[in-house]
């Protein structure tokens, strides 16, 4: 109810719940970041003294360096591939006079709803058969499988609101079909492309369970964090978490400031 006579009490209650939920979502992360700046050798809140000790520790540790490098490398390979393949698929779904487009779309985004544990199990088995399980040859396709649906959704949503007559206009002005897409369509749907790229990067960077199955000796950052966490909760884990948070928060901020909040990027649907 949006009229000016609607119940104040009911709305206040909703506001209170919302405030609580926001606190619930944000507070743990804020506490985590604060704790990561402790100068002690143990975690407590609020920390008795502050310092960058654990950041220094983490940034100079070979284990953390290696795993972060692997995760970054992986995400940097996955993101452009995911964007290219996913965008092609989104165009194919949007433009083709295909029968059963709906079913095809459902198939294309279904890795999203398939539990990753099942996906991971299956991919692990195939990788074992091909003898590539602990390598980029397995990691990259596995990550692509879960990132591409996000690109298809974000780019697909942009394409849906894109007025195709603009592309036709470009063609009538002499652009080739590909030229029209390159010079007109892609720049206009750029927000969707950016959203797709950011989702791909973050999902790959954060992926755990599939890599967990595949990796024997390789350690991505989430795997390293997991094994550290299982062993002992040390301040170093808070520092690594905060650094990871900074990377993803930075990318999220780009997503928001580009006006590409969930609504327009199609994630709501």
């Amino acid at each position: 109810m949006e009229n000016e006579y609607s119940s104040r009490l009911g709305y206040r209650l909703l506001l209170a719940i919302t405030a609580l939920v926001i606190t619930f979502l944000i507070a743990p992360l804020a506490i985590l970041v604060i704790q990561s700046f402790t100068a002690e050798s143990y975690l407590s809140f609020p920390p008795p003294s502050y310092g960058l000790r654990w950041y220094a520790n983490v940034l100079t540790s070979a284990d953390w360096q290696d795993s972060a490098a692997l995760s970054l490398l992986l995400a940097c390979i996955v993101t452009p591939c995911s964007l290219a393949i996913g965008t092609m698929a989104a165009f194919g779904l949007n433009r083709g006079p295909l029968k059963g487009r709906q079913a095809l779309y459902a198939l294309m985004i279904s890795p999203m709803v398939l539990p990753h544990i099942v996906l991971g199990l299956g991919i692990f088995r195939i990788a074992l058969e091909l003898n590539i399980s602990d390598s980029m040859l397995a990691f990259v396709p596995a990550h692509l499988t879960i990132t591409i649906p996000f690109v298809i959704i974000t780019v697909g949503a942009s394409l849906q609101s894109f007025d195709i007559s603009m592309e036709e206009a470009a063609q009538s002005l002499g652009a080739s079909r590909f030229g029209a897409v390159w010079h007109v369509t892609l720049p206009i749907i750029r927000p969707g492309l950016i959203a797709g790229a950011i989702f791909s990067f973050i999902i790959s960077f954060d992926e755990f369970i599939i890599t967990f199955f595949l990796a024997t000796y390789s350690r991505t950052l989430p795997l390293e964090m997991f094994s550290t966490l299982m062993f002992q909760v040390k301040p170093s884990i808070a520092a690594v978490s905060s650094l990871t948070l900074a990377v993803t928060a930075g990318l999220t901020a780009i997503l928001m400031f580009r006006g590409q909040v969930a609504g327009e990027s199609g994630i709501i649907k």
Partner: protein, 283 residues
């Protein structure tokens, strides 16, 4: 441009994805189905059509128990997400454009924050020597630490934290699509605000609610990391069991059968949600 030509172009554009999926998604799933009917004896897998695995999964008493626990856990998580998420979506809808952007930021940003980082945050808060237990002990309110983690409560809390966005966004999307005039029409026909919500707003938001519930339920059924971190071995779920059976016992056939059990539960949820959506359309 002929239609055949267009068709060819579309398939060409889709081909990289289809090729990838067939290797990393379709083939693996088929393989799991085949393996679930294989036999596993003395660490040797022999293919064929045996029902041993399913007999074991349904008959050993333990697997089915863990399955139902996973379902129950997922239901708790889904219900908690609805109770927390619906009010937020309602506030988002009524907020000023600026306020809405902020709320959206708070809701979307967790979606983009590392899951393991968020779990770490909860460990620091709920753990035996986490903030809450430390503080309470310092104040002398408790002698021994409260069991806030390594139980259902801790798992539900942390998973809700991870998946709440997946509930809020579809509900918000559905609420946005509601024509506010329908609510005004109801009010001018004598409906009190509560009845407007019940008879007009809620039914129209059912598609979003169903989508959110489906998404959260499915994700919760398959979640591995958070229960392991927050529940340890005290809250054993089906994904944990599957992982254990594969990684430690190399019993692929049993794990495959359990995976299909998981998929069946998810399929059932999708069907139920489709039914709800159809009901929502027809009134």
């Amino acid at each position: 441009m002929t239609e055949a030509n267009e068709n060819f172009r579309a398939w060409w554009l889709l081909s990289p994805t289809l090729l990838l999926y067939s290797l990393t998604f379709l083939l693996p799933v088929c393989l799991l189905v085949v393996m679930s009917f294989a036999k596993f004896e003395n660490s040797v897998t022999s293919f064929g059509f045996y029902l041993d695995n399913y007999r074991k999964v349904f008959g050993d008493g333990i697997t089915i128990l863990i399955f139902w626990r996973t379902v129950k856990l997922s239901i708790y998580i889904t219900v908690a997400c609805v109770l927390l998420g619906f009010p937020v979506a309602m506030v988002m809808r009524r907020a000023s454009p600026r306020g809405r952007l902020w709320l959206l930021f708070f809701i979307v940003s967790p979606l983009l924050t590392s899951i393991i980082v968020r779990n770490v945050a909860w460990v620091l808060i709920l753990g035996r020597s986490g903030i809450i237990n430390d503080t309470l002990r310092e104040w002398g309110l408790i002698a021994a630490p409260l069991p806030l983690m390594y139980n259902t409560f801790g798992v539900v809390l942390a998973v809700v934290h991870v998946y709440l966005s997946f509930m809020v966004l579809p509900i918000y999307g559905a609420l946005q699509a509601i024509n506010p005039s329908t609510e005004e029409a109801a009010a001018s026909l004598g409906a009190s605000p509560l009845r407007v919500f019940w008879f007009v707003t809620l039914p129209q938001s059912l598609p979003g609610l169903a989508a959110g519930c489906t998404l959260v339920f499915i994700l919760s059924m398959g979640v591995y990391l958070t229960p392991v971190i927050m529940g340890g071995n005290f809250v054993l779920t089906l994904p944990m069991l599957i992982t254990d059976v594969v990684r430690n016992q190399y019993n692929w056939p049993a794990a495959s059968a359990m995976s299909l059990m998981l998929l069946a539960a998810i399929g059932a949820m999708v069907l139920a949600s489709t039914a709800v959506r159809r009901f929502g359309r027809q009134g």
